[in-house]
């Protein structure tokens, strides 16, 4: 594949529906939870073809592990299921990541451009674990869900991919863009008692 048939437009559904907000508790100076939308991220889903395990091993090696984010150069590979990875990159033109992956992987794996399909949030702050515990059934304690962990799960009945990307101290949440406003409202409602800041 040399060119995409269409160039996805990566815009934010949150910008159209929500406004930046901060709610602090009396006497509080730092919000308990900070929810920020991450803009300009490129995503592509790579799924290994069933009969291509040995060719895949030669190309990629075996360093990609279950429920783990592995940094390969400037790309982060998030485990997304058996034989399936979500590749994330920053600072690329829309659609270029899929083209970059197609070149070596074409025939061995299918590559699906997803940049326009997901909204990505960064969650941080001293009370982030308490707020997430209300929405997520996974054990996100830093000793269990260590930096470099990722998982597909649900929050408020919405499918969410959650990750602790190596080199960052926040939680990254990926949600289908049509659910982005609902997820933000759920996160804000879970965070209100701790004080929060929301930026999109």
């Amino acid at each position: 594949m040399t060119e995409l048939i269409f160039k996805p437009v990566i815009d934010s559904p949150l910008l159209r529906h929500l406004e930046d907000a901060q709610v602090l508790l009396p006497g509080q100076t730092v919000p308990g939870v900070v929810i920020k939308e991450i803009h300009g991220r490129s995503l592509a889903l790579v799924t290994r073809r069933q009969d291509m395990k040995s060719q895949w091993g030669e190309l990629i090696g075996s360093a990609l592990v279950t429920n783990t984010v592995v940094a390969r150069g400037a790309r982060n590979w998030h485990w997304y299921g058996p034989g399936s990875w979500l590749v994330c990159a920053s600072g690329l033109e829309a659609g270029d990541l899929a083209v970059e992956l197609e070149t070596p992987l074409g025939g061995v794996a299918s590559v699906v451009e997803l940049s326009h399909a997901r909204s990505i949030l960064s969650l941080s702050g001293p009370q982030v674990l308490s707020a997430l515990a209300k929405l997520c059934s996974l054990d996100l304690h830093p000793k269990i869900f260590v930096v470099g962990s990722c998982a597909n799960t649900t929050m408020h009945h919405m499918a969410v991919h959650i990750a602790r990307v190596p080199g960052r101290d926040d939680f990254e949440l990926h949600v289908m863009r049509g659910f982005a406003v609902s997820l933000c409202e759920a996160l804000i409602s879970a965070s209100t008692e701790y004080g929060y800041r929301f930026e999109c």
Binding site: T66, G81, S137, L138, A151, N152, T153, T154
Partner: protein
């Protein structure tokens, strides 16, 4: 709520899974040759045991893979997990 051990992802809450009913029900090769009774058996009639039950689960919200589990329908304890197409644990001679 059950805690189910996905063979790929590890222990997760039941809310991440979909139930697929009794395992090892093969679709008849020639449905047209079946009597209404036999076709009805295939479609609707299940063992529904009180005790160990081989059943299908899908980690819908996680890795999206189907797998089999052996669950006690009285206590809900799950004693074994095995892949789709694999021989059930009690029958593989172990």
């Amino acid at each position: 709520m059950l805690e189910i051990e996905c063979p790929w992802c590890g222990a997760c809450d039941q809310s991440e899974f979909s139930y697929g009913g009794e395992a090892h029900i093969a679709r008849p090769k020639t449905p047209a040759d079946l009597s209404d009774q036999e076709w009805g058996d295939y479609l609707f009639n299940r063992e529904n045991p009180k005790g160990w039950h081989r059943e299908q689960w899908c980690h819908t919200a996680g890795c999206r893979r189907w797998f089999n589990a052996v669950r006690d329908t009285v206590t809900c304890r799950i004693k074994a997990y095995y892949r789709m197409g694999a021989v059930p644990p009690e029958e593989d001679g172990r």
